[in-house]
């Protein structure tokens, strides 16, 4: 194999080797290369030093009352409703999508039926027009009469 130093991919292989991945064909080839390459041996040694150093870093154990505090929080923060509904939740989750789909379909059908029933019947134009014009003319006449009467009242009041 070619020297891993200088090749990003090969260096990843070398890191994987240092991390303990040694039962691969690549690892066997690397081991052969290490026998003849001092620079790579040095790199492996320094990388293994990093791993050993990280191994020394122990995290502290959890507090003795960790579980008690957690369960107290669960008791406090998870609502009563949540607990009451919990046994039904799997059923509810399973049924929610089909129920929602069925609801949507029902609403759509309802809207369509409703539109069909309240649609106004078309009125023949030749019958509607003279009647409407007649009503409009009557309304205009009535407004003119009303305005004239109002003007006359105001003039009388000023005098």
């Amino acid at each position: 194999m070619s020297c891993p130093i200088g090749s990003h991919e090969q260096l990843e292989l070398l890191q994987a080797y240092c991390a303990g991945e040694r039962n691969t064909p690549d690892a066997s080839a690397l081991e052969k290369h290490l026998e003849v390459c001092a620079a790579c041996r040095e790199l492996v040694a320094s990388q293994q030093a990093v791993w050993s150093a990280l191994d020394e870093w122990k995290a502290p154990a959890a507090s003795a009352d960790f579980d008690r505090r957690l369960f107290a929080r669960i008791e406090r923060e998870v609502s009563l409703w949540d607990r009451l509904l919990q046994p039904f939740r799997p059923l509810w989750v399973r049924l929610a999508v089909p129920l929602a789909a069925a609801g949507c379909v029902a609403i759509m059908v309802g809207i369509m039926l409703d539109r069909r029933s309240v649609q106004p019947q078309p009125v023949p134009a030749e019958l509607a027009q003279p009647e409407q014009i007649e009503h409009a003319l009557d309304d205009m006449q009535m407004l003119n009469d009303f305005n004239a009467a109002t003007r006359a009242d105001r003039a009388n009041a000023k005098m």
């Binding site: 320094s46 990280l54 020394e56 502290p60």
Partner: protein, 193 residues
């Protein structure tokens, strides 16, 4: 590996039981994953009090989300995704910095205690503490995502594929994160050989 897969399947099975209302299964999951989660969070935020507070939040969220849990991925992928999310948020909101100051003050106190100790092991203990501090600082100096990737790879022994799912990136991105992180650590810690 087969044993590991079986264990992970068992975790998911336990979580499904929690979903169905079996509180005892939650206790089993807590017992099994408490330490790995706390240790991961401790190494991420480097403060035990904050790590425990975050771990409580992780398990609380697991319990709260039980109703919508679907065993589509490994349980630990889901668990560490929550843990990583909370740790990164904690680091970003600066809450940890205030506590870090306290931690620094504490380690200063412990160093002075050790200096005044007349026992022969005092010097060795102090050397060890200095060494640990170097390691902690080297890891703390890594960018957040690199740090999370290294901790999951090194201490949780996770595969690239699982880390990629937790960090929501590609496997090649994980390899790149790890490569850069180990290069940085090598530069900072190689003298410890």
């Amino acid at each position: 590996m087969g044993g590991l897969a079986a264990t992970l399947d068992y975790d998911a099975e336990l979580m499904v039981r929690v979903k169905e209302g079996d509180g005892a299964s939650f206790t089993v999951l807590l017992e099994k994953h408490r330490s790995p989660v706390i240790h991961f969070l401790y190494r991420m935020v480097q403060n035990q009090a904050v790590a425990e507070e975050l771990a409580q939040e992780v398990f609380l969220r697991v319990y709260r989300s039980r109703g919508t849990y679907e065993p589509t991925a490994k349980f630990t992928t889901w668990l560490f995704r929550i843990a990583t999310h909370l740790a990164l948020n904690s680091l970003r909101d600066g809450r940890n910095e205030r506590l870090q100051e306290r931690l620094d003050a504490d380690s200063g106190e412990s160093a002075s205690r050790q200096l005044s100790d007349s026992r022969p092991s005092a010097e060795a203990a102090m050397v060890k503490e200095v060494r640990m501090e170097e390691i902690r600082q080297a890891v703390a100096g890594l960018p957040e995502k690199q740090r999370a990737a290294v901790l999951m790879h090194k201490y949780q022994e996770m595969e690239y594929s699982q880390i990629s799912k937790i960090l929501n990136c590609s496997e090649s991105a994980v390899k790149s994160l790890l490569f850069r992180a180990y290069e940085t650590l090598r530069a900072r810690l190689a003298h410890m050989a």
